[in-house]
């Protein structure tokens, strides 16, 4: 009886301690949660959802990015990444492209044994819902050796689970470092430079023309929409029937893993503290922020909205980074005749929306 109970209560044997994809449930959006409209040509980067990168060279096409409270019923998901086409583009130039990327560090992929005869399959799983049955493509780019593999899939108008296994690359693999080793790329729109070849269904040197062969266009009409959630990657060959269940994390665990790549500090209350600083002279003080989670690399920084010296609500301070490291970041804040040398100062938000963003993304 005791042995039976031991077996019944044995923990589920996970193939990996934590999911390879961070924020696959689209819960974390440190850069903001309000819809971002008018995205188009050149609007490249991270928009709302942490770790989900938009890559765009889209001519006239425009779209809105949303974090939407929609997901397959009984799936355990609450949110999705939603893309809505707002301006169609049916005259597609050769160079046009619209991708959503998930970028991974090379050091996190060594267990796949790429570049050896034992290279492992990697299976992509995700839920998607679209306005119509449209063929899009998905696959990997191995960055360090410029190699690629692709597959196409067809969306449904209801939430549909897609499960696509990719064979491992026995020729080469990502470097064992913190740089981008591999990129999972969804392609939703492409010009002839990316469609005129033969789809790269086996690993090969990256050839742009073999990327989105037979694929449709997200910008075909303003009816186009895509919702995606439950993005997961599993080592091994799986089908929709055998794919291991999505490894749900707590919101806190998910956020902590995202913070290796982005740390966002947003005003939640009037005069909420931002950081301590010390006065350098009458016009400048230097403050520091210490990251809860060490970042992947020294981050880029920006802030929006007003940061003030505590109680001095009239003067919005200007900022300039002094030093940036994986562990901490210092800023010189300037304002006319507000400080004294070696004086201790508290900096706070004011009464309007404001945020500090530290970005060490791939």
């Amino acid at each position: 009886m005791a042995i039976t109970r031991a077996f019944k209560n044995a923990p589920h044997q996970r193939r990996r301690q934590v999911p390879l994809v961070i924020n696959g449930d689209m819960q974390i959006a440190q850069r903001g949660t309000a819809d971002v409209t008018g995205l188009g040509d050149g609007d490249e980067g991270y928009v709302l959802h942490d770790r989900m990168r938009h890559t765009l060279e889209a001519g006239a096409g425009r779209y809105t990015c949303k974090q939407t409270a929609d997901a397959p019923s009984d799936s355990g998901f609450s949110n999705c990444l939603e893309l809505d086409c707002t301006t169609a583009d049916t005259s597609i130039a050769a160079t046009e492209v619209f991708n959503i990327d998930y970028r991974m560090e090379g050091q996190d992929l060594q267990y796949l044994k790429y570049g050896t005869s034992d290279a492992e399959y990697l299976t992509v799983g995700f839920w998607m819902k679209a306005d119509a049955a449209v063929v899009y493509s998905v696959g990997f780019i191995e960055i360090d050796n410029s190699r690629s593999i692709r597959q196409v899939f067809t969306t449904g108008t209801d939430w549909t689970y897609h499960c696509i296994p990719f064979i491992g690359d026995t020729v080469s693999g990502p470097n064992n470092d913190l740089g981008e080793g591999m990129r999972l790329r969804f392609c939703f729109h492409a010009g002839s430079n990316l469609t005129s070849g033969t789809l790269a269904t086996s690993w090969q040197g990256t050839t742009a023309a073999n990327t989105h062969v037979g694929g449709g266009s997200f910008f075909a009409s303003t009816d186009r929409s895509i919702k995606m959630t439950g993005l997961q990657l599993e080592r091994g060959y799986f089908t929709a029937e055998t794919m291991p269940p999505f490894q749900h994390e707590s919101f806190g665990e998910n956020l902590e893993r995202c913070q290796r790549y982005c740390t966002g500090i947003t005003k939640e209350a009037n005069y909420g503290p931002v950081m301590f600083a010390h006065g350098i002279d009458a016009n400048t003080c230097r403050g520091a922020y210490f990251f809860d989670t060490p970042m992947r690399t020294a981050p880029s920084f920006t802030h929006t909205g007003n940061i003030i010296r505590s109680f001095d609500t009239a003067t919005a301070l200007s900022s300039a980074t002094a030093t940036s490291t994986r562990f901490s970041h210092s800023i010189d804040w300037t304002g006319s005749n507000l400080f004294g040398a070696n004086e201790g100062i508290l900096l706070t938000f004011n009464t309007t929306a404001a945020s500090l963003i530290y970005d060490a993304e791939l």
Partner: protein, 60 residues
């Protein structure tokens, strides 16, 4: 990034080399980017700076 201009920021300690640049974008938003080869914004900036006519201005 839609880069309008790039300028080095003053060093953390006077007399030392700058280690940060400020990128101002066409919409006037900005990013402070460390000159760190693992930072992808700095990597992209190297490509931008290699194009004729693009310059990283010295700090004031």
């Amino acid at each position: 990034m839609k880069i309008k201009s790039v300028k080095k920021l003053p060093p953390a300690i006077s007399g030392e080399d700058s280690t940060i640049v400020r990128i101002t974008q066409t919409d006037d938003s900005w990013w402070d980017v460390p000159m760190d080869n693992d930072n992808v914004d700095w990597q992209e900036l190297q490509i931008w700076a290699a194009i004729d006519g693009n310059n990283i201005a010295d700090a004031d």
